[in-house]
């Protein structure tokens, strides 16, 4: 009888299920979808997040969620599983706007207010999104077996080009939540890789002379302007694109709480505990969507490739639009700051600063790059609103 129990116990373990995923498959190709492979992927992501510091605040939870969900039989994403309950906040589109509330409370739009023209660079960099969208549609038409995207899926992949985590997660949760795993991994990985992806593109499209351009001191921005800004932008953007309301509304509410100066204790809690708690739950549940059978698909490779395209094209169009502004202003604008338009706040702006200084050691572009950088956040929220308008 003890043997009987042991036998049944063995059947209940994940070890057996894991072995079966290799040795009891109808078709050898199914081995490629073994949870074991996903467990290894999660280890690699943990390595990158911890050792290489790839956006660890989200990738550590995402990778651990990925690990937990792929340990067979644990059932954490079953209907009554722990992670499934927590996942409701992701699926219903609650967590990402709350993260955006935190982003708003942590963002200083001053450099954008001081230099309004930089907002256009935040628009130009959104080409990356739509270029990727076309790319995803094109790939679907190529007839590669197992690789084909619906309109909703293509839109969700495209938003990786927004280089903005919460926006990507929100749009994907609304349009194609089965892709949350690969899209989150691609988006956060490329954001971490911004210092490697962007510089060659920036140098390719600009001349030494252009990169040397020093920009003039930004004007001071008053408290009143900073308070009115979120109110006006929220009102205008949501009237134009009602579907962008959860993202833009929360972003600007957070910013108002930050700037109004009379609710400091709310601002502190939003920036810290609220954002941290939601980050943990968002990250681990996004990771938990990445089960082997949905993640280990040809589509995931396509998403990884398209994501890189999205970042590269966004950087390029940002820089190219920067060159146009360089010409239009008679050389007052350093085209490098266009690269910051992809968002990836504040990494992209720091890359601009470094490249600018390489060309001219006395060059301080950081504050000028913060303008397009935060404009890029608004830009991709607007783009997400348009895609939601079309596809939801």
């Amino acid at each position: 009888m003890l043997f009987d129990i042991l036998h049944k116990f063995w059947d209940s373990t994940g070890f057996k299920a894991l072995l079966d995923s290799f040795f009891k498959v109808d078709n050898p190709i199914e081995i490629l979808q073994s949870p074991l492979i996903m467990i290894l992927v999660s280890f690699i992501l943990l390595y990158l997040a911890i050792k290489k510091q790839f956006e660890p605040l989200l990738l550590v939870p995402i990778a651990f969620g990925m690990l937990l969900t792929n340990l067979p039989m644990a059932g954490l994403m079953d209907n009554d599983g722990l992670l499934h309950y927590l996942y409701m906040g992701t699926k219903l589109g609650i967590y990402p706007p709350i993260i955006f509330l935190g982003v708003g409370a942590m963002t200083d739009f001053g450099p954008l207010i001081a230099n309004p023209k930089s907002v256009l660079l935040g628009a130009a960099a959104q080409f990356g999104i739509f270029f990727t969208f076309i790319g995803a549609v094109l790939i679907s038409k190529m007839g590669i077996p197992g690789i084909g995207f619906t309109g909703q899926e293509a839109a969700s992949i495209a938003i990786i080009g927004g280089a903005d985590g919460p926006t990507a997660l929100y749009l994907t949760s609304q349009l194609a939540d089965h892709l949350l795993g690969p899209i989150a991994v691609a988006a956060y990985s490329y954001m971490a890789l911004v210092p490697i992806i962007q510089p060659p593109i920036m140098r390719f499209f600009t001349t030494e002379e252009e990169r040397k351009v020093k920009m003039e001191q930004l004007r001071p921005v008053s408290k009143t302007e900073k308070i009115i800004f979120p109110i006006v932008v929220a009102t205008f953007c949501i009237l134009l694109l009602p579907s962008a309301a959860p993202l833009v509304g929360m972003l600007m509410f957070g910013n108002l709480v930050r700037e109004c100066g009379v609710v400091e204790r709310l601002s502190n809690t939003i920036q810290n505990e609220l954002t941290n708690i939601v980050t943990i739950f968002l990250g681990i549940t996004v990771g938990a969507t990445a089960k082997a059978e949905v993640f280990l698909q040809g589509q995931t490779i396509a998403i990884i490739v398209l994501g890189l395209l999205a970042f590269s094209v966004g950087t390029a169009t940002g820089v190219l639009f920067g060159k146009i502004m360089h010409k239009a202003t008679g050389g007052k604008v350093n085209p490098l700051i266009g690269a910051a338009g992809v968002s990836a706040v504040p990494m992209a702006a720091r890359v601009v600063q470094k490249e600018g200084q390489k060309a001219n050691p006395s060059n301080f572009l950081l504050m000028h790059a913060m303008g397009p950088n935060v404009a890029g956040v608004i830009g991709s929220a607007v783009a997400a609103g348009i895609l939601l308008l079309f596809f939801s």
Partner: protein, 125 residues
């Protein structure tokens, strides 16, 4: 608007792209105009006159890993850091860079390791 939104044709994808980028540019262009309105409404260059020197002690927060990366580099980066902080302060304090004199950069961060040790001790005593 389209025949089948789950299956997009290439011309449709192009149309979506053109239209969407149009809206993106239109939206941000209007924000640009609004902000130019801000400039004329709220900024008359007055503040230029009151040029009091500001002494600043920068207090680094322990929260992000950003500073660790900075910490890896040394010395030569110190000057860059001063310059960058000056520029940042200029904007956030609404003063031109020339007004700001940074006396001392004191890193306050990285208390975390001490704290987590305190946490461990607390648990044991």
């Amino acid at each position: 608007m389209f025949n089948n939104l789950t299956d997009i044709s290439i011309p449709e994808a192009l149309l979506i792209t053109v239209f969407s980028m149009g809206i993106v540019f239109a939206a941000l262009l209007i924000i640009d105009l609004i902000l130019q309105g801000f400039r004329s409404l709220f900024y008359k260059g007055k503040r230029q006159t009151k040029t009091s020197k500001t002494n600043v002690v920068i207090k680094n927060d322990k929260k992000t890993m950003e500073q660790d990366r900075v910490t890896e580099n040394t010395d030569s980066d110190e000057e860059e850091l001063v310059a960058v902080i000056a520029a940042a302060l200029a904007a956030s304090l609404s003063r031109p860079v020339s007004d700001i004199k940074i006396n001392k950069i004191r890193r306050v961060g990285q208390e975390t390791s001490v704290w987590s040790k305190a946490g461990r001790l607390e648990q044991m005593n």
